[in-house]
């Protein structure tokens, strides 16, 4: 008897669907069929021989293509490697790194991984996902993607340290020893668009220029992590440098300063970025050249067709949907307003599930779109967060806009919040992370005291210190508990 029979049943059902799907796709189930019908071994050799012949034919065609077009081969991202958009050598002479692009509906995702020494059945190189989630972005009006990612202190060899792992993965008590520096890499990768021709960056003080590849202007830079790039953290009141796996991640359509010092475009113009210094990198960015704004948001509102301001955000819930109500009554009530939720994601830190509506078009002048996350604990509604998101500019005036009872909503300024709430609106700074991390900068937050409880307003600060002024924008509103509530 298993502990979770319903999970076992669900997995078995998933297994059946998976097998049917792979059979339908014609996946290699030759060995399965052979064993089922007890074909003699000599018969089994026939498909193998056929596969070899096909492989030989592909190899001959590939070779002839390469001989016939040397220039094209140089321009291609990686001949013989399935779906690889860009490659980079490993700075510690390990297996080369590669960038894969996967296209989804209205979105593009980037996957970073290693090219294994082993070859596939047709002699192609084998891509293995690294210890990273894909980075995804919405495509622009022309279907192009612009995305720049910087990930610091990524483990070079995920999962190779045994089942438990010997590397520290942050300030978690179960993992005590930090990853050795030689096992960590800093990755800069992305898509600069078709106009970009090359990127320039520094390696040990020397300038290196690398051509972008493919129609998306793909690039991949892999650098060794250094003690200088690791973060300064405070442990027991003593400050010391420590490298932590996945310590920093930056995702943006505009290329921020940090690794790349210049982008050269095909028309000859160059965008220069400040070089990193021992004290950090001055802020700068290169705008996404050729980006075409979408005329409407990615996910149009499912129900409403005109702006519908609902003054619903309260300190104890959303309108009549209050904290403590069961999930089975909360979701249908919001579904009537917003349509079915887009995703339900298992939570962490004692939280059950987060049900999310994403890409809500709210027609704000300053906020492109919104996302509503509901938090549940033991299937009871315990918190919500209403976020401004960056899924593209809002278009036509339609959608649902949530606001507090006095009218504060996403995109409003801090000055307006003060006008609406007076002394009941206070500013503070909260630590980030679960558990709160001393490494991450404290976020500026406004707290609104209401008769029904406290509402927290995330404020978009400016500059490296996240300075807040009267013109700073409210980018989130939430109340109750959430995964970012300290839970230890």
């Amino acid at each position: 008897m298993s502990v979770l029979p319903k999970l076992e049943r669900e997995l078995i059902a998933a297994h059946r669907r998976h097998v049917q799907r792979t059979r339908f796709r014609g996946a290699p189930l030759v060995s399965d069929r052979l064993s089922r019908y007890w074909l003699p071994r000599t018969m089994a050799a026939i498909p193998v021989a056929l596969a070899c012949l096909v492989a030989l034919a592909v190899a001959v065609v590939a070779l002839s293509l390469h001989h016939g077009s040397t220039k094209k081969r140089a321009a291609a991202a990686s001949p013989g490697t399935l779906g690889v958009a860009a490659e980079a050598p490993d700075p510690q002479a390990g297996a080369p790194w590669a960038l894969q692009i996967s296209h989804r509906r209205n979105a593009v995702c980037l996957h970073v991984g290693r090219l294994l020494p082993a070859r596939g059945p047709l002699g192609q190189r084998v891509f293995a996902d690294a210890d990273q989630l894909p980075a995804c972005t919405a495509t622009d009006a022309r279907g192009r993607a612009f995305l720049n990612v910087f990930e610091q202190e990524v483990r070079a060899s995920p999962g190779t340290n045994g089942p438990i792992g010997k590397c520290a993965l942050g300030a978690w008590p179960a993992f005590t020893s930090p990853c050795p520096l030689e096992d960590l890499r800093n990755l800069a990768y992305g898509l600069l668009g078709p106009s970009a021709a090359s990127v320039t960056y520094l390696v040990n003080g020397h300038s290196v220029t690398k051509r972008t590849t493919g129609p998306d202007g793909a690039y991949l830079i892999v650098l060794s992590a250094t003690a200088e790039t690791c973060h300064l953290i405070s442990i027991d009141g003593r400050r010391r440098r420590e490298c932590e796996h996945g310590a920093a991640q930056v995702f943006s359509a505009a290329l921020p300063s940090g690794v790349i010092t210049a982008v050269t475009y095909r028309d000859g113009h160059v965008c220069h970025l400040p070089s990193p210094t021992p004290r950090g990198t001055p802020v700068g960015s290169c705008r996404p050249v050729g980006y075409a704004k979408r005329s409407q948001s990615i996910a149009p509102p499912p129900v409403s067709t005109s702006v519908d301001i609902r003054r619903l955000l309260e300190g104890n819930g959303i309108g009549s949907i209050t904290f403590g109500q069961p999930r089975s009554t909360v979701i249908p009530q919001l579904e009537r307003l917003l349509g079915p939720p887009h995703e339900t994601i298992p939570g962490i830190c004692g939280f059950g599930r987060s049900t999310d509506w994403i890409g809500l078009n709210i027609n704000s002048h300053t906020v492109s779109g919104a996302e509503l996350n509901l938090q549940f604990k033991h299937s009871r509604f315990v918190g919500y967060a209403y976020y401004a998101n960056a899924m593209g500019p809002a278009g036509q005036p339609h959608g649902i806009l949530f606001a507090t009872s006095r009218g504060l909503t996403l995109g409003d300024t801090v000055a307006r919040a003060r006008n609406l709430y007076g002394r009941a609106f206070t500013q503070t700074r909260l630590p980030q992370g679960t558990p709160p991390s001393a490494k991450l900068p404290r976020l500026p937050v406004g707290e609104v005291s209401t008769a029904k409880g406290e509402i927290s307003a995330g404020i978009q600060g400016s500059g490296r210190q996240d300075r807040v002024s009267g013109q700073s924008i409210v980018e989130s509103l939430g109340a109750g508990a959430g995964p970012n509530t300290p839970c230890r």
Binding site: S2, E8, V19, G159, G347
Partner: protein, 185 residues
């Protein structure tokens, strides 16, 4: 199902991609260790269940890529678990990519389910006690018992003879038994 009970992990995993009974047997064999593994690290039954579900879904998807001999099946599975846990901690929520790919319904956990998982935390004391063993015994017990690796391979890794490894495993297990005996009411 009974036919698979006596099979090795590796054989189960190799057949799991095409044989639902082999996969079910593999799931049953590793369900408790996996839940205990996550429960000890998260101290949350609901979270442990979500992580375990994602790990088994990911294992189902990638079971075709498992190669016997490269690493024990248990090590392969726990490497996925480590990976999922790291992601969850970094992102603040459990990844559900594998479950979405398999079109699995979100797991609706009742209080009974959560209690059963929480009870595993008490039963899983042996794994907790493992951390209290001297380092050399802990390494040897973990490699031999949890990872099911052969003595010669462990000896090579720990740079000692096979007889020394056997002694460490034996002493470690004896100590665990003693400690478990001490804890029982």
């Amino acid at each position: 199902m009974a036919a698979w009970v006596s099979e090795t992990d590796e054989r189960l995993l190799l057949r799991a991609a095409s044989d639902v009974q082999a996969f079910a047997a593999f799931y049953r064999r590793y369900e408790r260790p996996m839940l205990v593994y996550f429960l000890r690290r998260t101290r949350d039954a609901e979270l442990a269940a979500d992580l375990a579900a994602e790990v088994f879904a990911a294992a189902l998807i990638s079971s075709r890529r498992f190669k016997a001999g490269a690493a024990p099946a248990s090590a392969w599975l726990f490497a996925i678990a480590e990976h999922k846990l790291a992601h969850a901690r970094r992102r603040g929520r459990v990844e559900d990519r594998a479950r979405r790919r398999l079109q699995m319904e979100p797991l609706a956990l009742e209080d009974d389910d959560l209690e059963r998982i929480e009870r595993l935390g008490d039963d899983g004391g042996a794994i907790g006690l493992l951390d209290e063993l001297p380092a050399e015994q802990r390494e040897a017990v973990r490699a031999r018992i949890l990872e099911e690796r052969p003595y010669d391979q462990i000896a090579e890794q720990l740079k000692c003879s096979q007889s020394v490894v056997r002694k460490r495993v034996s002493r470690g297990l004896a100590r665990l038994r003693q400690q478990l005996g001490d804890q029982s009411p």
